[in-house]
Amino acid sequence: MQQQQQQQQQQAQQSQSILNEEDLVSTVLADLKRVVREYATAATESTCPDIRQLFTKLLHNTLSAQGQLFQAMQQSNMYNAASPALRQELDKQMQQYQQTAQKTRQLLQQKLGGALQQNAMIGAMNQQSPQQQQPIYM
């Protein structure tokens, strides 16, 4: 009964508006996404600690509101989620980035090996002078 009334109400309002419920909700979701980005930019570009803190708080609130609206849309079948990535694609990326990580570890070991070790022992072995100045110390 109530639903019928709501449907009539919706039809009445839809005849006045080009955007239906789903369109309107989608614009809200899109704007929440945009505002999240804007708050992130504003926070990172703020100088006053209190203003940065305010933008950070608003960023968190907006981000969780966007998540809640997304979930409500998904529950109501208003959102077509992207199709799942294939297993072989995951395997491929996994393999590739394991290689990247391995190379980076080797590079860091090579360039900063001594420094990293010394960093770990800082305070205990101060007499050991570094071979070269590393910007990591600064």
Binding site: Q3, V35, E38, C48, I51, N61, Q68, L69, A72, S76
Partner: protein, 73 residues
């Protein structure tokens, strides 16, 4: 002791108030036509949130008004 707000920060605060104002109205438009309980509830709550955000931003300007310089520096 707070430091004066920069011109850039003021721009962001003002733009953010426009965003919050628009979102408040958009959520109200959804609540007015929505027949989906989950969506209605979510958007009703969001109207309150955007109102609070707007007030917080307004409050930040107010808070910085007294210490803002009156001459360009």
């Amino acid at each position: 002791m707070i430091q004066p707000m920069t011109a850039k920060e003021l721009e962001y605060v003002a733009d953010s108030m426009s965003n919050e104002d628009l979102l408040m109205k958009q959520c109200a438009a959804v609540v007015a036509v929505s027949t989906t309980p989950a969506i209605r509830e979510c958007c009703s709550q969001m109207i309150q949130m955007h109102q609070q955000h707007y007030d917080s931003l307004m409050h930040a300007i107010q808070h910085h008004q007294q210490i803002a310089p009156t001459q360009p520096q």
